[in-house]
């Protein structure tokens, strides 16, 4: 510097400031450049950006299959796959929220059917209804009315269901269960006694439990048990704020979980659902209550349906189908709206759903996809889907708005620790007062 008056500290601080200014200057230039490209890039057609959280094995392949069908129909369109990894879409939803608020929506995005879309982006007038596409494609005769109701509000349809997962399923290690001569439980009481028998026969933690990533797995236990104790109508009422969470049916549901917890692994906060599946495969656990994405996980690990593992509706929910449904919607201001409409048609088509669902491990939302494409358990679920009472899942965003569902996550995390039925029920009711009454 040639200036002996500069102390070292001054030099450091000034150098720091210069560097800081340079950095800011640079990033501002980048920022301008980025603005430039994004605006100039929009005018050209022939692009389609699809946003999802399908990055896992199976689901990623299913998405690729649908892209193939789309490309066959619209060969000139280049698809951008903007998938964001992260369990149950937690990260993807944050990214999507930023883009939607910023007026830069993807052309179409994955969203759980129902409240997750309706209470947020539909209410904020950021979505375009797809009623006309629904009608012109004749989906009324192909997709069950219960399901259409879940994706509709105020007389309009807002998104296209691609697949249906079942949230209320009990998976079991078939060989192990048979060897201990225990039957798959039908009711919640059966479940408690099966767990205690298995423990007496040397399996210390017969119930595999995962709660990593925000306790949504435990929330599924709760909603399945509420469905078991209260039935479909009570379930729908309590999830829409018309019935109270302090009702004895809810405390019954919580009590069942409390009774099962001593039979579950204590490290649930460190494992996710797929690691809980591994406990079944390893034979350290026998049961896992989880959505039917567990099936895709088992088969990918070379476990054979109805030989190595079996499935029944979760305890006490026979005849009811907990819907976890992925859909695609049409955001207002999509840059390539016409291409997105084409995408929605592929999503709702027989061909699209036949290609996607066997890979994903779900069943099609349409009832006319040939059952022969699917494994035995999926065929069983497809048959039940046609006759069962369909109810929307709260843990997966269909029955309740995200602020409620996320609050329930927290409460279930607390419940795992304090096992306090009364307090949890009253806290759930507080969440209902705050978030369900206004919805």
């Amino acid at each position: 510097m040639g200036n002996e008056r500069w102390s070292r500290r001054k030099f450091v601080s000034r150098a720091g400031k210069t560097a800081g200014a340079a950095f800011l200057g640079l990033s501002f230039a980048d920022f301008l450049a980025a603005c430039g490209t994004s605006t100039s890039g929009t005018s050209g057609s022939g692009k389609l950006e699809i946003f999802s959280w399908w990055t896992g094995p199976g689901e990623k392949d299913g998405l690729a299959e649908m892209f193939k069908i789309y490309t066959k129909k619209y060969p000139s369109v280049t698809i951008t796959n903007s998938a964001v990894a992260g369990g149950a879409g937690s990260t993807a939803k944050a990214v999507l929220a930023t883009r939607m608020q910023g007026g830069n929506p993807p052309d179409s995005f994955q969203v759980h059917a129902g409240q997750e879309l309706i209470s947020s982006w539909v209410k904020a007038s950021k979505m375009e209804p797809i009623t006309s596409i629904w009608n012109s494609e004749g989906w009324d005769s192909k997709i069950p009315k219960d399901l259409k109701d879940i994706v509709s509000s105020n007389g309009d349809v807002w998104s296209v269901p691609v697949n249906v997962h079942r949230g209320n399923a009990l998976w079991y290690n078939k060989k192990l269960l048979d060897s201990k001569s225990v039957n798959p439980p039908q009711s919640a009481e059966d479940m408690t006694s099966a767990l205690s028998q298995l423990k007496a026969k040397g399996i210390t933690t017969p119930l595999a439990l995962a709660s990593k990533g925000g306790n949504w797995q435990v929330q599924m236990l709760l909603e399945n048990n509420i469905l078991a104790s209260g039935g479909a109508d009570f379930y729908k009422n309590v999830m829409s704020g018309k019935a109270s969470f302090t009702d004895s049916k809810v405390t019954q549901a919580l009590t069942w979980i409390k009774q099962w917890l001593p039979y579950a692994n204590s490290d649930s906060s460190a494992i996710d659902w797929d690691e809980a599946d591994n406990r079944l495969i390893a034979g350290t656990a026998v049961f896992h209550i989880m959505g039917d994405w567990a099936k895709g996980d088992f088969t990918s690990k070379n476990w054979v349906p109805n030989t190595d593992f079996g499935a029944v509706p979760s305890p006490g929910t026979t005849g009811k189908y907990m819907i976890v449904c992925d859909t695609f919607g049409l955001p207002k201001g999509a840059k390539d709206r016409d291409n997105a409409v084409g995408w929605l048609k592929v999503c709702g088509s027989q061909e699209g759903q036949a290609a996607f669902n066997p890979k994903k491990g779900s069943i099609p939302a349409r009832t006319d996809v040939p059952a022969s494409l699917f494994d035995a358990i999926a065929q069983q679920f497809m048959a039940e889907f046609k006759t069962d009472t369909l109810v929307p899942s709260s843990a997966h965003g269909s029955a309740t708005p995200p602020n409620f569902a996320s609050g329930v996550n927290d409460e279930m995390g607390q419940f795992l620790q304090n096992k306090d039925v009364t307090k949890t029920a009253s806290n759930l009711q507080k969440l209902s007062d705050e978030f369900l009454k206004t919805a």
Binding site: G2, N3, A21, Q101, K126, K212, S269, A270, N403
Partner: protein, 312 residues
């Protein structure tokens, strides 16, 4: 740059009327040079802080922006929440573990490395390397190490030390301390570097003089070295303290706040409230509380530092 500083030297030798002697462009150029950063900081830092404060005072609690003014209602609600109360306790607890761990380990290793033995340079680098990692990487690795079914528990089993096994991150009583282990592992090297620089800056004459006066090595450390390291310790507390208050990435990767609220932090809840629950006003209120917490720590330090600089 060279001409500018040369100019300065001249100017500083003629202190009588330097502002008058400067040609007009000389007065404008510095302003022009700093103005981009001043404007950018004004907008992107202070403007956004203002926008956050505003958001925290309205009723924007869904995807649809709602700018109805509700005063301090969001703050009132926030402090009633069990989760946020747990967050505040956790932050204080975590900060205490983190600061104590980093300073004790950092000072300890620095004193050892200051002995100028063979190989100190090697260890100096070894202890510094964790600092080069991001908290996300550290968190992922430590999550594996502390997984109760693999990692450290298995090692303990093999060493027949099974009684030392713990649920680590899965047990409400140990989770926050386990998180602290990972954080200390990452940042104690940084603390060591600061203390080492401080130790090397203490003139040997002072210690010699104390030795002549008959002080033993223990007294030497506590009476001479440690007091002289006070400015370094203070800087370490400030720097580590504000990292600790804002900790997000490590918690997000290692525990996501669980089990229960055992390791939840205000920054994580801020993210969840804003992006998972769409409670934008609540998220903003948490951000403001965080800002105030950090300000309580930083502002006195900045004032102290600034005073020191003007006195020079």
């Amino acid at each position: 740059m060279a001409t500018a500083s040369a100019q300065r030297v001249v100017v500083e030798r003629l202190p009588k009327s330097r502002s008058l002697r400067l040609p007009p462009w000389e007065k404008i150029t510095p302003l022009l040079l700093v103005s981009p950063s001043v404007i950018l900081i004004a907008v992107f830092v202070y403007g956004f802080i203002g926008a956050t404060i505003r958001t925290s005072l309205v009723r924007w609690n869904s995807a649809l922006p709602d700018y109805t003014f509700v005063g301090l209602h969001n703050y009132q609600r926030l402090f009633q929440l069990e989760r946020f109360q747990a967050d505040l306790v956790n932050t204080v607890h975590f900060t205490a573990i983190f600061l104590a761990g980093c300073i004790v380990l950092g000072l300890g290793t620095a004193v050892l490395l200051d002995q100028r033995l063979r190989g100190t340079l090697f260890f100096q680098n070894v202890y510094m390397y964790p600092l080069a990692l991001s908290f996300v990487v550290t968190g992922t690795v430590w999550r594996w190490i502390l997984n109760p079914n693999s990692g450290v528990n298995v090692i303990l089993d093999n060493l027949h030390l099974g009684f030392l096994k713990s649920g680590w991150l899965t047990d409400t009583h140990t989770a926050l301390n386990s998180l602290g282990i990972a954080a200390v592992w990452q940042m104690s090297g940084f603390c060591m570097a600061m203390f080492l620089a401080g130790l090397r800056g203490i003139p040997e004459e002072l210690r010699e003089a104390a030795r002549v006066d008959g002080a033993n090595e223990w007294q030497l450390f506590w009476r001479i070295t440690f007091p002289l390291l006070r400015p370094i310790t203070l800087s370490a507390v400030i720097i580590l303290g504000h990292i600790s208050l804002k900790i997000f990435d490590l918690v997000y990767v290692m525990t996501f706040g669980g089990p229960g609220y055992a390791t939840d932090m205000p920054s994580l809840y801020m993210w969840v409230a804003t992006f998972a629950q769409f409670l934008y006003s609540r998220g903003a209120a948490i951000a403001v509380v965080l800002l105030l917490m950090v300000a309580v720590l930083i502002v006195p330090y900045l004032v102290w530092n600034l005073r020191g600089e003007t006195e020079q």
